[in-house]
């Protein structure tokens, strides 16, 4: 599988993401935000965490209007896979690839800890390595992770089984405890917790490995 990791000024999880993807067997290219095109033959685009453009205006707002994001949207429209983590999730909501928005945490605090997540569905390339109902521990590190979405869209997310992960103990006020959501075609996943920080025993846990392996497995079969 060929993966591209997008790098914005202020991204700080881009190299962690590349390490996690490589460990799972992907061939990874780093792509600068000013590039207008993705390298040829990219299967997965990963939009990493960090503080792109210093979180100016709104988290992810400026990054979502950068030249590379047009290419990312086109990639998704063609049925390509996209994974957005933390700031990457904020960027994906700002591009409109995923519904809703991420607001300031309800307790106004920056939250940095490992949290338990419930895998809500195994029906996606990202989550097929888990069983629905599994509890996994991923680190979170964010100030604006309070997911909000209108009632109608929430009902659609539920009925279409598009909530990928939820918090066991909601840390940030997200509606319906949502930690990660899938696009309609289930090929775009945005989530606040960091699977790429849970792939090495030296970092306190390896629950994230199944996400990357599942994703890679998708392409091994193809």
């Amino acid at each position: 599988m060929r993966a591209a990791v997008i790098v914005f000024p202020g991204s700080n999880c881009d190299r962690d993401m590349a390490v996690a993807l490589k460990a799972a067997g992907a061939d990874v290219s780093m792509v600068w935000h000013k590039d207008a095109n993705l390298p040829d033959g990219i299967d997965l685009v990963a939009v990493p965490g960090g503080f792109s453009f210093g979180d100016y205006l709104r988290c992810g707002a400026i990054a979502a209007r950068s030249p590379i994001c047009k290419a990312v949207v086109n990639h998704a429209d063609r049925g390509g896979y996209v994974l957005g983590v933390c700031n990457g999730f904020q960027v994906l909501t700002e591009t409109g690839l995923l519904p809703g928005a991420l607001m300031r945490n309800a307790n106004l605090k920056f939250i940095c800890k490992t949290v338990d997540l419930k895998v809500e569905t195994s029906a996606s390339a990202f989550t097929e390595g888990y069983n629905a109902g599994d509890t996994v521990g991923y680190p979170v590190a964010h100030h604006d992770g309070n997911y909000t979405v209108d009632d109608e869209t929430l009902a659609a997310l539920r009925s279409e089984d598009r909530i990928a992960f939820s918090y066991v103990d909601n840390p940030n006020g997200s509606v319906a405890d949502i930690a990660g959501v899938l696009s309609e075609n289930r090929r775009v996943l945005g989530m606040m917790p960091h699977p790429e920080r849970a792939v090495d025993t030296g970092h306190g846990g390896t629950d994230g490995q199944a996400l990357f392996r599942g994703l890679l497995g998708q392409f091994a079969q193809a």
Partner: protein, 76 residues
Amino acid sequence: MKARVHVMLKNGVLDPQGEAVRHALGSLGFDGVEGVRQGKVIELDLADGTSEATIGEMCEKLLANTVIESYSVEVL
């Protein structure tokens, strides 16, 4: 010409920052502050003749996230 854009969270969207400001005002002894909503003011210095429609487009495409925010434009 100049224009001022006001961006506010939509009614019904909980504003945790406004709520914190309300609490702080209360602890300073200001009674009767029943609600605080916090927004943004963005001042634009524009070429003369920029239409309000163009400014509206700027708001829709970047300045406001219309999923959670509303905006109003004041041409000065």
